[in-house]
Amino acid sequence: MKKRRILESSVLYTIIAIVIGFVIGALFLASAGISPAVAYGKLIDGVFGKPKFMIWTLVYASPLIFTGLSVAFSLRTGVFNIGAEGQFVVGAMAACACGIILKLPPVIHAIVCVLVAALAGFIWSYLVGILKVKRGIHEVLSFIMFNWIAFYLSNFLVNTETLHKEGSGEATKNVLDSARLLFPEGILKALNCNGANWGFILAIVAAIVMWIIIEKTTLGYKLKAVGFNKDAATFGGINADRSILTALGISGALAGIGGAVQVLGMSGRISQFAGQEGYGFEGITVALIAGSNPIGCIFSGIFYGAMKYGGSKLTMVGAPEEVIDIIMGCVIIFIAISSVFKEMFLKIGKKNQ
C-alpha cells in the first residue's frame, strides 16, 4: 500500500521530471563538447561552495518565490496568470520610482515602496480580470498584451528625465538608501554578502500567508470553489466574477512585490530591457514544480534561484548558461505530461501485485 502511495504522489513525478531535465541538459552539453560532470560540478560548487554563495542563492530566489506564489495562487483559483511578468515589471518600476522620488525615513520608505509595488501589480492584473469578467476576453491573451505594454512602459520610464541617471547609458538613478531592503551594514559584513536583504524573509511570510488564505479561510474556499467549478459555485451563492477579480488582484500584487524585492533588495535600479526579464515566466516553472502549493513555492523558488545563480557561473568553465533554460523547459514539459507516467507506473504497479 505504501508503494502505491508513493506512485500516486506528484512529488515523485516532479523529481523524475527534474532528473530528466538534467539528463537532457547533459546531452546538450556533451554534444557541444563540454563535460556535463564539469559543468554540473561547477553548478553545485557555485551554489554550495561557500556560505556567501548560499546566501546569494536565497537573494536570487526571493523574487522567484514571489512570482511563483503569484502563479500558484492563480492556478489554485482557476485562472492562469501568465502575466506575472508584466505585474513584476510594473511593480519593480513603481518601487523604483517611489524609491527615487519620495523622501521618507528609512523602513517607512521601504514599506511604502513595497506597498505601492503591490498596488501596481494588483491594478495591472485586475484590469485583465475586468476584461475577462465584463467582456469575456480570455485572460491568457490579455496577460500577454499587458506583459509587453509593461515592458515598453518600463523602458519608456527608464528614459524619462525624473528617473534617468545622467550619463549612465540606459538605467535609472539608484533608489535612495532609505528605500533599500538590505540588511544592516554589520550583518552584511558578517555574512560577507553585500546583497543580503529582507526579501527572502518577506517571501517566506508571504508563502505562509497565502497557504493560510487558500487552506484555512472562507475567502480561499470561495476562490477555490470558483476555480473548481464556476457554475456550481455560482449556484451555491458565490459571486464568481468577484472571486475571479479578487484572485487575479492578489496574484498580481504578489508578482508586484516580487518586482519590488528585486529592485529594492538586489539591483537598486532598473536598466532598459533588451528582452523580457523572465521572472514571471520563471514563476510559472516555480509554481509547477511546487504543484501550486504556496509552501512548496519556497523550495522550488530556492531550486530555481540556485539554478540561476549557479548557472551564471557556468561561463567560467566555458559552458553557456542557457543550458539552464533548456533544463527548465524540459522540466516543465515532463511535469506537464506527468499524468501519463503516473498512469503507466500505476498500471505496472498493479500488474506486479
Binding site: 467582456r135 476576453i137 480570455h138 528582452g275 516553472t285 553557456p320 533554460d325 516543465i332 514539459i333
Partner: protein, 310 residues
C-alpha cells in the same frame, strides 16, 4: 510634396520589412489554433528559426536554403509541442511556455557553443535573401523603396492567399476547421483528429521558423539575442485580432507591421519615444478585443486535449 512622397516611400518600405516575420508566423498559427491546439510557443520557434537561418546561411552561402532551414528548425520544435499536446494531452499553454524557454535557450546555447559569442558573424549581402528588383531602381527613390524589397516580403502575401484557399476551398481546410470545433464528430466520421492536428501544429512551427529566419537572413544579417523579442506574441495577437482566419490575420499583421514601420521612421527623428509606439500593437489588440472581437467565435475545442475513445 517631394518630402512627403519620399517619406511615404520609406514608410511603405519599413512596413514591408516589418510585416513578413509577423505574417509568416501568424499564418502558421492560424492552422494550429483552428485545428484546436494553442501554440503559445511561436516566439520560441521563431527564435530557433532565426538562429538556424543565420547559422546555415554562413555555411551554405545561399539565402533561400538558410530561410528554409530556419523553417525546418521551427517545425522540429513544433513536432515536440505536438507530441506533448496531442499525444500526451498536456496543458497547451504550459507546453507553449516551455517552448519559449527551450527555443531562445537552445538558440543562444548553440550560438555560444558554435560561434563562441551571443551573435553570429554577419552574413554578406550576397548570402542574404535576394531583393526583388535589385539595381533596377535608383536607391532611395520612391519606387526603389516600394518595389526593391526582399522577394519574400511580397511572397508572404501569396502565402496568405494560399492559406485562405487551403482553409476555405480544400478538403483539408474543412477538416482542420471541423477538428477544432468538434473533434468527437470528426473522429466518428473517420477523420483522424490526431493526424490533422499534427500536420497543423508542424505547419505553424515551420512558418514561425521561416518568420524568424527572415529576420536574420533579410531584415538584418545576423542572429542576436534580441532579434525576435515579442514578434511571436504579436503574431499570436494578430491571429486573434484577425478572428483566427488567415485573411484577417494578414490584415492585422499589415497593421502591426505598419506600426512597426512608423516606429522605425520616428525613431530616426526622436519626436515620440519609440517605446511608446512599440506599445501600439498591444494596445490596439486590447481595444479591438474590447470593442469588436470580444464576442467573436474562438474555435470551440481550442486548448482542449482530445482523448481518442478506445
Amino acid at each position: 510634396m517631394d518630402a512627403f512622397i519620399s517619406n511615404l516611400g520609406l514608410l511603405i518600405n519599413a512596413t514591408l520589412v516589418a510585416t513578413p516575420p509577423l505574417l509568416l508566423a501568424a499564418l502558421g498559427s492560424c492552422f494550429s489554433e483552428r485545428s484546436g491546439v494553442i501554440n503559445l510557443g511561436i516566439e520560441g520557434m521563431m527564435t530557433i528559426g532565426a538562429f538556424v537561418g543565420a547559422a546555415v546561411g554562413l555555411v551554405v552561402n545561399n539565402g533561400w536554403i538558410a530561410f528554409l532551414a530556419g523553417g525546418l528548425a521551427g517545425a522540429v520544435m513544433a513536432a515536440i509541442h505536438a507530441v506533448v499536446c496531442i499525444q500526451f494531452h498536456a496543458d497547451q499553454t504550459i507546453a507553449g511556455t516551455a517552448m519559449n524557454f527551450i527555443g531562445p535557450g537552445l538558440a543562444l546555447f548553440l550560438c555560444k557553443a558554435i560561434f563562441g559569442s551571443t551573435d553570429t558573424p554577419p552574413l554578406s549581402i550576397s548570402d542574404k535573401l535576394p531583393k526583388l528588383f535589385e539595381g533596377v531602381f535608383e536607391a532611395g527613390s520612391f519606387l526603389g523603396n516600394v518595389l526593391n524589397v526582399y522577394t519574400v516580403a511580397y511572397l508572404v502575401f501569396v502565402f496568405a492567399a494560399i492559406a485562405v484557399f487551403v482553409f476555405y476551398k480544400t478538403k483539408f481546410g474543412t477538416h482542420l476547421r471541423a477538428v477544432g470545433e468538434h473533434p468527437e464528430a470528426c473522429e466518428s466520421l473517420g477523420i483522424s483528429v490526431y493526424r490533422v492536428r499534427y500536420i497543423c501544429v508542424i505547419i505553424s512551427g515551420f512558418m514561425a521558423g521561416l518568420g524568424g529566419a527572415f529576420v536574420t537572413t533579410a531584415t538584418i544579417n545576423q542572429f542576436r539575442p534580441s532579434v525576435i523579442v515579442g514578434q511571436g506574441f504579436i503574431a499570436i495577437a494578430a491571429v486573434i485580432f484577425g478572428k483566427f482566419s488567415p485573411g484577417g490575420a494578414a490584415k492585422a499583421c499589415l497593421l502591426f507591421g505598419f506600426c512597426s514601420g512608423v516606429k522605425s521612421i520616428l525613431s530616426m527623428s526622436s519626436v515620440v519615444d519609440p517605446n511608446l509606439i512599440s506599445m501600439i500593437p498591444y494596445i490596439v489588440t486590447i481595444v479591438a478585443l474590447v470593442l469588436f472581437v470580444g464576442k467573436a467565435h474562438t474555435p470551440a475545442a481550442n486548448g482542449k486535449p482530445f482523448v481518442k475513445s478506445k
